[in-house]
């Protein structure tokens, strides 16, 4: 299969304030986005890809001069790939609050002239969808062929069907849930406590002190990473393997390979991710719960949705288990909506949605193939 080759991000400045669910607003903001493929003359072939926790607008392709800068869903999006950029115009957009270019905590707060830091307002999945809709307005796209997302991205795709039911034909929600469980929130809380109790956190205004709460971020990422993998995969990859031939009888040193791996992942993450963004995004995850305004009744919440749905889950995903996806499916069935549901037997846990599993990609390819025919591509 061909690759997209080199891609370049674009950015768009919005000077109309963005009202947020919290009651606060972003006075102005910039969204960074990338597009792949060509927008058809009738503009019916646009697909929006929503990103998950630590991803960005850079969905596919590479940046010139950086051969390892492959987009996070490059195995899915490109010419001849399941989401085929020869047929679809694919948009990746970075959400407000992120640390990858769109206005976020590291940017200057127009009210103070200093970086937002901890003063960046709490953003929700719903706020992100509002921001994304404005980008579509700017691109002149009235209706999307599909909105696609995995994990937190899947929550955005669901939110699209509720906030803008007429603006998308299909919703593809992968490895996601209608809200977080107490266990999910608990993991988020441990990650947040790791960050805010780092001595370098300084109430979120670490930039003003010229430091970064890297220790906290490392621990947060280690916790997160454990939840993305399945027990089996971790066992298979690392087991109880030691780094040295003998036990070291130390409590401080890395002895098991899994420790080494988690520390490596944590270190890498703390080099590029912003701590305030981590706090904001995990909070957005905690808050997402479309059924809340309907007394906890998800079927009533989804009654507004008119899109056709494809829901996909993975059998070993314990972070967003198949049972959580089936809740979405049930609510759609109760509303007599068009929905297909694939429960993919994959060993990789939550991470499976980013991997190139033939059964999973086969279903997505078949589904997007149908959408393409529907929109005349």
């Amino acid at each position: 299969m061909a690759t997209l080759g080199h891609v370049t991000p674009s950015s768009k400045f919005f000077d109309t304030p963005l009202p947020l669910r919290s009651g606060a607003q972003l006075r102005d903001y910039t969204l960074v986005y990338e597009t792949y493929g060509e927008l058809a003359a009738d503009k019916r072939n646009a697909v929006l890809v929503c990103h998950a926790l630590n991803a960005s607008h850079h969905v596919a392709g590479t940046y010139e001069g950086q051969p390892k800068s492959e987009g996070w869903w490059d195995n899915l999006v490109g010419p001849g790939k399941p989401l085929d950029t020869d047929r679809f115009f694919v948009i990746g957009v970075n959400n407000p609050g992120s640390c990858f270019g769109s206005t976020g905590p590291t940017h200057v707060n127009p009210a103070t002239g200093k970086p937002y830091g901890a003063d960046f307002p709490v953003v929700t999945v719903e706020d992100w969808v509002q921001a994304q809709a404005r980008l579509l307005d700017a691109l002149g796209i009235e209706q999307l062929a599909a909105v696609l997302g995995g994990s937190l991205g899947g929550m955005q795709a669901l939110s699209w069907t509720l906030q803008f039911p007429d603006r998308l034909r299909h919703c593809v929600a992968i490895a996601t849930a209608p809200n977080l469980s107490a266990q999910n929130i608990a993991f988020n809380e441990v990650a947040r406590r790791a960050i805010v109790t780092d001595p370098d956190f300084h109430g979120g205004h670490y930039a003003a002190h010229g430091v970064l709460p890297k220790r906290g971020l490392r621990v947060a990422r280690m916790i997160g990473h454990i939840t993305y993998l399945s027990d089996d995969v971790m066992e298979q990859k690392f087991g109880r393997e030691l780094r040295a031939a003998e036990l070291g009888y130390s409590t401080q040193e890395i002895e098991f390979q899994i420790e080494s791996y988690l520390r490596y992942q944590g270190d890498k993450f703390s080099e590029y991710f912003d701590a305030n963004t981590y706090l904001l995004i995990t909070r957005a995850l905690d808050y997402f719960d479309p059924a809340r305004e309907h007394g906890g009744d998800l079927a009533r919440a989804l009654a507004r949705a008119t899109a056709k749905f494809l829901v996909v889950s993975f059998t070993t995903d314990w972070r967003f288990s198949p049972a959580r996806s089936r809740e979405i499916v049930k609510a759609l069935l109760d509303n007599r909506r068009d929905v297909s549901y694939a429960e993919i037997e994959a060993p990789h846990g939550h991470d499976a949605f980013l991997l190139d599993d033939p059964r999973y990609h086969g279903v997505l390819r078949a589904y997007f193939d149908r959408i393409a025919k529907e929109v005349g591509r």
């Binding site: 494809l310 089936r326 499916v329 049930k330 069935l333 109760d334 007599r336 068009d338 929905v339 297909s340 549901y341 694939a342 429960e343 993919i344 037997e345 059964r359 086969g362 279903v363 078949a366 589904y367 193939d369 149908r370």
Partner: protein, 194 residues
Amino acid sequence: MSERRDMELIASLVPPGSRVLDLGCGRGELLAHLREHRQCTGYGIEIDDANVLACVQRGVNVIQLNLEEGLAIFEDQSFDVVLQLDTLQHLRNTESMLRETARVGRIGIVSFPNFAHWPNRMRVLSGRMPVTKALPYEWYNTPNIRVGTYADFEVLARKNGLQVLDSFGIRQGRPVRFRPNLLASVAVFKFSRG
């Protein structure tokens, strides 16, 4: 059951415009047929990956579920018709699935290989298990973990308080209404909760 004429015969039992649930829908042919020729809507339930993929390719709504786990995802009487074609004999929880079918649908339609079809009887009389077009497996590798007869199903339906609305056999794509227990390779029952 894969034969087209069998399918059309069963499809003719489904009232036009029905909301249909097809349990063990395979590659979604029947649902596509019902959609195109009888303006039906609905969903298929399927466990096999390749069949799920075929349904998505065909544009049929398919839900990947294991029928052994029941139909809790569906509300009472939420479908006009629940189909269970060539499926029931593969399930361990045959009786509870039959009750679930009657709970979820206003009408249930079941079909399965009729073990009492006369060639099968001859084969058993000769001391061997039958291997026929309707029962194409050896006893040791058959996915049909339940073998029953047309007459047996009447008893099971009665036991579960189901009202049989229609029943007949099928042989070579044609309905068999005269002595179906002896003369048909496939049994078909249309029933309601009674």
